[in-house]
């Protein structure tokens, strides 16, 4: 956007490029954009800049960066403190277990559900099932967690139903060993219908004549699914898998924050919730921020690894 007053050597084109009109038009365009650019700067770039505190002993009120020697740089102290801390192993284990369960179970259910829907020929029935399966996605996490917590109370729905089979009532919310199951189930329940949309659309774009010819060849339903439908949606599956692996450490801690309680920290406390508690509730800003940087770095490595493997195995990847 520099204004050149002198005509440039390559006259024609270049000169017109920096003409008065051009500058004026760009001023106009930038004036339109500038509010959004400022918003992005304030809420996306300033926090990135704030990551510097991970390497300092930050006190509330300090600037993020100053050159008058007022900042106490500590290098990687917070990182080593986290890795050698007493919660490190527990946090890593919980985070991996919970997200592994989520991927191992939750990743396939939308695909199976999409395949199942594809086998239903009554369109109105299919629509009804689809609508029902999207519903939980629209209920807020707070309400979902509230419902779950009240269902698993000693006097709640789950214990009433299990009571029919003679299972004695239990306070499931207070027992660490049930947390993984409760969380995974809730999470899948909330999102499997919604996550199936992509696969449903991928399946519906398969050329129907393919099926017709396979039927002539005498393929049955399972052969159709195995040899036709699944290979056709493989690109979608691999991309979704790479993204799922990429969010192993950064997965949604919302629901955990709502479902867990001090009695279940043993199995429920993950890195995200730890950052929240230690950073905001205890005020260890630098330390919690370092934990965040640590997780983000590992996450990045995981995405690259997953993408590399996916490219090798299926020839599809994010890039």
């Amino acid at each position: 956007m520099t204004v050149k007053s002198k005509p440039l050597p390559v006259a024609g084109v270049k000169r017109r490029k920096y003409s008065r009109e051009y500058v004026q038009e760009n001023l106009e365009l930038y004036a339109i954009m500038i509010p959004v650019l400022i918003l992005i700067f304030l809420f996306c770039y300033l926090p990135l800049y704030g990551l510097l505190i991970s390497f300092q002993n930050y006190q509330p009120g300090d600037p993020f960066l100053a050159f008058d020697g007022s900042i106490e740089w500590v290098g990687l102290k917070h990182f080593t403190k986290f890795i050698s801390g007493k919660y490190f192993f527990r946090l890593i284990k919980n985070t991996f277990v919970l997200s592994f369960l989520n991927i191992a179970v939750g990743f396939w259910i939308p695909i199976i559900f999409a395949l199942l829907l594809n086998e239903i020929h009554n369109l109105r029935f299919k629509k009804l099932i689809q609508t029902a399966s999207y519903l939980p996605y629209f209920i807020s996490s707070v309400v979902v967690a509230g419902m779950v917590l009240s269902f698993i109370e000693p006097n709640g729905l789950v214990n009433h139903l299990l009571g029919i089979f003679g299972v004695p009532p239990k306070a499931y919310a207070m027992e660490p060993k049930y947390f993984a199951f409760i969380y995974t189930f809730t999470n899948i329940w909330k999102s499997f219908g919604w996550n199936s949309i992509l696969y449903i659309s991928a399946i519906s774009s398969i050329d129907p004549s393919l099926y017709e010819s396979s039927r002539l060849d005498g393929a049955n339903r399972f052969q159709n699914i195995w040899y036709m439908t699944l290979p056709s949606i493989l690109p979608t599956i691999s991309i979704m898998l790479v993204m799922a692996v990429g969010s192993v450490l950064a997965f949604n801690t919302d629901l955990i924050l709502l479902l867990y309680n001090p009695a279940t920290y043993k199995t429920a406390d993950v890195i995200g919730t730890y950052i929240y508690r230690d950073g905001l509730e205890s005020g260890n800003f630098s330390f919690a921020s370092a934990v965040g940087v640590f997780t983000a770095t590992i996450n990045f490595i995981l995405v690259f690894a997953a993408n590399w493997i996916s490219n090798r195995l299926t020839n599809y990847g994010l890039w």
């Binding site: 106009e28 365009l29 099932i129 209920i139």
Partner: protein, 299 residues
């Protein structure tokens, strides 16, 4: 669609039956918890305390709803949520159009740099703590703009809008320019009307997302008078620090409430606060699905 039906006729009847039954069970699991909450909230207080109604309420009792209507804190939170949702949605649409329009112009200088500027935040973020510190430095802590401003723009939505705008031929813009229209006029008079479908999709996503969001409010709005509905619900349903049976009431209602269990009141509140989303959702479903498709095309 008849043709499609023929394709699978080799599939056995039993197989079809099994598939339909499985699908029905899955759909039932999705809907039943909400339905159970509805049933219990409508049952008689006696049945609700015994918790033995599962499918059909024993009559229609609206007492629980009458009680929660008296909860002023809930109304206040309801009002806050409506305020936040409307401001955020309007601003979201404005920011999307404002940022997307210039990016479609072939004469924009530094377009490559702008694209990089937009892409970096999609992959890297400061995370919770630095964001919190930036917020307090901007004096947004305990200020309603702390949850409106970060939520009122989305780079993802900007890119979606831009993709939509690009399909509008540039010649249209050139023609308008020759007629003496400014860029701002072209944007509002030509581009905006054409982009109605994408605007509808973004608006609906923003409305539902803002309605359901609670985390930012928990972090930035400690003042209970400013808190949105979801945070009040969190206190009632999750932390259970609010006992609905102890709402300040007049004598007559106090007699009614005495027979009522906290659970039933909680369930009534769940239904009452989720109602707008649940009712709106079958109508909006089409738009939502469209949004997923648009997103997947880019991604």
């Amino acid at each position: 669609m008849k043709r499609k039906g023929n394709i699978y006729y080799d599939g056995s009847r039993i197989g079809n039956c099994l598939i339909c039954i499985t699908a029905t069970i899955l759909a039932f699991i999705c809907v039943y918890p909400m339905y159970y909450v509805l049933v219990l909230s409508l049952s008689s207080p006696k049945a609700a305390i015994a918790m033995n109604t599962y499918l059909i309420p024993d009559g229609l009792h609206f007492d629980s709803y009458r009680v929660i209507m008296k909860d002023m804190t809930m109304w206040r939170a309801y009002g806050n949520t409506l305020l936040y949702v409307s401001i955020t949605t309007v601003l979201m649409l404005v920011t999307c159009v404002l940022a997307a329009y210039p990016l479609t112009s072939s004469r924009l200088a530094g377009k490559k740099w702008l694209t990089v500027y937009l892409l970096i935040p999609m992959y890297f973020g400061g995370g919770l703590i630095p964001t919190y510190l930036v917020m307090s430095k901007l004096h947004l802590y305990n200020n309603i703009w702390a949850i409106i401003l970060p939520g009122c723009f989305s780079i993802w939505n900007i890119i979606l809008t831009r993709t939509y705008f690009i399909s509008i031929p540039e010649s249209l813009r050139e023609a308008a320019k020759i007629d003496g229209a400014s860029h701002f006029q072209i944007m509002t008079r030509i581009y905006l009307p054409v982009a109605k479908p994408i605007i509808a999709v973004i608006a609906i996503y923003t409305i539902v997302g803002t309605w359901n969001s609670w985390f930012n409010a928990m972090v930035y709005l400690p003042n209970p008078d400013l808190q949105p509905l979801q945070l009040y619900l969190r206190r009632v349903l999750v932390q259970q620090t609010v006992d609905l049976t102890k709402l300040p009431m007049e004598e007559v209602e106090a007699a009614v409430i005495r027979n009522m269990s906290n659970v039933q009141l909680k369930y009534a509140m769940i239904i009452f606060t989720t109602l707008p989303v649940i009712f709106a959702y079958p109508f909006f479903q089409k738009h939502f699905v469209k949004g997923v498709m648009l997103g997947s095309l880019k991604g």
